[in-house]
Amino acid sequence: MPHVLTVRPAFPDSLTIFAATVAGLLCLPPAYVAYLALTADPAAWSRLWTTRIPELLTNTTVLAFSVTVGTLCLGVSLAWLVSRRDFPGRRIWEWALVLPLAIPTYVLAYIYSYLLGAGGPIEALWQWFAGPDAHLPSPHSFAGATLVMTLDTFPFVYLLARAAFLNLNVSYEEVARTCGASRAETLWRVTLPLMRPAIVAGLSLVILYVVADFGAVSLLRYQTLTYAVYQQLTGRYDTTAASILSLLLVMVALIFLVTERWFRHRSRFFQTTGRYRTPPRRRFGSLGAALATLYAAGVFTVSFGIPALLLVRWSVTAVSAGVVDSRFFGFVGNSVLLSGLAATVGVLLGIPLAYLATRRPSRTNMLCLQAAYAGYVLPGPVAALALLAIVSHFAPFWYGTAAVLVIAYVVHFLPAGLQSLEPALQQVTPNLEEASRSLGYGPAATLRRVTLPLVRGGFTAAWVLMFLQSMKELPATLLLRPVGFDTLAVRIWLEASEEYYQLAAPAALLLVIMTLPAILLLLAKDWRAA
């Protein structure tokens, strides 16, 4: 097969065209919303500015900030603990701390509104201790939303920080130590700065997750932009106010995204191999080991242990009351089918975007990648409505089918996948492939022996993240589900929003259980990279 090495193609090649088309399609829903918002009556804008917008903007940014601080502290400290120190039970905590990812925010939120709510078990305990008139601050507040969102999203930071700790070339640290830096100094001045891309990637995932979250804030009644958009959409006949608020939401997210890009662009590192050897783990003394275990166990208990136990207990009650029937298992099939498809399509579409932005960061290619990120922060309900309008206009035969829902998931969660695809591709220096080619491997062998082993972990993580998030997606599913095609998430919402905790529990428990294998896949033995 003849092939010619060219420096730069004169015309965009088919891959660039494909990526640009994907990016363009991904931009359609936000563009439709922006169009609605910008053509809205100026009176609607000024009314919203004077009534709702200041409160919503403040609430949204303050929540994002507090959850960022919380997840940063939890995620990085726990990642350091399990990857650089050794203590009895470390291996168990290492994987156990990822499990909160299996609990959707709305499930954790309803569990905590039961636990911490008036008349709940923790208040009863507090009253036994402090007298019958003692009350706890309500979980339906800023503090409650911060707690639930932090407990639910810290594994994102933990996972990426842990992978970075493990994959870091230990030579840098050894050099620092040789030059006389103390351990703390090395951690602070060498290790953590080198991990910045991974940490920032994790945090921006958390921020986008918080800003776009509907489940927790709706159940905890904390007014953020996304919640307000949903309320406007479901409570009004016109979409003007919802689209105005959505546009603001996209702006807020863009600010975070641009900041993240800027950060990562300033600090791009290439390693010549995955790593030289496993970084050494130092053993704790007995007191240190006890404290480390207490810390890891405590975080695990509140973020996963207690919620899971409660779900099991409630489910037992519900199952014996006959809640689980054949209809219930239909919902299970629907959830798996939709999420699996969305994740697969997402990875297939994400690879060219991430590849082009990483390898050929031209203006066009970077723009395509940035465009793909907008969908994540487009709140589920508005993405849904925009899609309904677009589909009914251009592809009416798809109307009311599950395909529209899959598209919504892809638009919404592709950024989560890209967050993994991009660093994975960044890890492979072009020199490695070129070396492989010049040493006699063909393109196929280079791919199989060099590139794939280096990126496999990242690709798997991308698929799993998109699968998990699609399974848990709520607002778009509510609005786009075809008749008779309810998913587990929808069932949980229908029951939990009426505070029928026990009726919601079997679906919630099953969702958690079904998500667990995916998480174990994340932790599979050969999975080292983020």
């Binding site: 092939h3 479901t234 690879i351 309904l388």
Partner: protein, 365 residues
């Protein structure tokens, strides 16, 4: 996974070494094929696949628990299976508008007459003139052209915590705006149809200024106690988080049925001489304009307004049956003795937009 791998292969080869153009086109074609194969299977299971006549699609704005048992009873009687899409009323009307003639829905059930009237105005419903339907429901509870009929009645009630409040503490709804209830009341959120309908009635009776002052007081007094569901409001009152709440009456009776010892009581405001009267609304049902199964759909409506169907509403939900020969639950105050606000249900639609503007101006959540 082979799909992903072969695609990676194409990415690498294409861009690093710029293979022959035809080879590239071939790869791009294969990618499109892969995507199509991934998407198409889900395009198949849709509402159009199940178009037999013994099958109905109902969009319902009511909580599923409140309507499903009655639809199950209908299936047991007729063999007609009902697929239910439960969601918010306004949301479902938006969906019907967006779906246009392609809608899979045969019937629309809502928790608010104003929304049904609105759906009628939007051309989403078609008249049902079967005598069984018209004869069963009194005219004040159906559309002028019978595009929708009421199924059950409810009124705005104040639920109070019996340890915190005495029934005499409150006489009129307007009292809820007084400063003494600061941070002590729970209200529904601005998107709930029954709040919107209630504000429509207040506006019609008291005018804009007084209604706005009332809403501002309500907003201050509720603070963060703004709920998406009536059951949550009753729960907040029962646990003493707030002293009072505004809900539809039957949620109080349902709560008491489940927990007879709960410290909650029900108060019907504005019943005094010269008072406005209670705000009444109905749940109702309409036949969609584009249904292709009108006959089966009408059978369901006939069943719901029949004495058997109406009795289920009365027994299961503690709502007022609208069929004159079906008695309400004996625990409820007789409907005839209630003083009701003098605003016809059909007017709720035209009042809706200005009422929502008022709600928005006061910044209610």
């Amino acid at each position: 996974m082979t799909g992903v791998a072969s695609f990676c292969y194409s990415v690498e080869t294409m861009n690093q070494y710029h293979f022959h153009k035809a080879w590239r086109r071939h790869l791009a074609g294969r990618l499109v094929f892969l995507l199509a194969a991934a998407i198409l299977p889900v395009a198949l299971p849709g509402p159009s696949a199940a178009a037999e006549s013994e099958h109905l699609v109902v969009y319902s704005g009511r909580a599923e628990r409140l309507i499903k048992p009655i639809l199950d009873a209908f299936k047991a009687r007729t063999g007609i299976h009902v697929d239910l899409l439960s969601s918010g009323t306004t949301e479902l009307i938006n969906r019907l508008v967006a779906e246009g003639p392609r809608t899979p829905a045969d019937l629309l059930i809502t928790n608010d007459a104003g929304s049904l009237e609105r759906a009628r105005e939007l051309g989403l419903l078609r008249p049902m003139n079967a005598t069984e339907i018209v004869a069963a429901i009194p005219p004040q509870f159906r559309a002028a052209d019978n595009s929708w009929v009421g199924l059950s009645g409810r009124f705005w009630a104040v639920v109070y915590n019996t340890t915190l409040v005495k029934p005499g503490d409150l006489r009129s709804l307007l009292d809820l705006a007084e400063p003494r209830w600061r941070n002590r009341i729970a209200i529904p959120n601005a998107g709930s149809e029954y709040l919107q309908a209630g504000v429509s009635v207040l506006k019609a009776v008291y005018g804009d200024d007084r209604t706005r002052r009332f809403l501002e007081g309500l907003k201050t007094n509720a603070g963060t106690h703004v709920y998406g569901k009536s059951s949550q409001i009753v729960e907040a009152v029962a646990t003493g988080q707030v002293a009072l709440g505004v809900v539809n009456h039957y949620y109080v009776y349902r709560h008491l049925a489940a927990q007879p010892a709960a410290p909650v009581g029900l108060l019907i405001p504005d019943q005094h001489e010269g008072g406005m009267g209670a705000i009444v609304n109905v749940t109702g049902i309409g036949l969609t304009a584009h249904t292709k199964r009108a006959d089966s759909a009408k059978r369901l409506v006939e069943y719901l307004v029949s004495e058997e169907g109406q009795k289920l509403f009365a027994d299961l939900n503690k709502e007022y049956p609208l069929h004159p020969r079906v008695a309400a639950d004996p625990a409820l105050p007789p409907f005839k003795t209630l003083r009701t606000a003098p605003v016809p249900l059909a007017r709720l639609a035209e009042l809706r937009e200005p009422a929502m503007a008022l709600i928005e101006q006061t910044g209610l959540r």
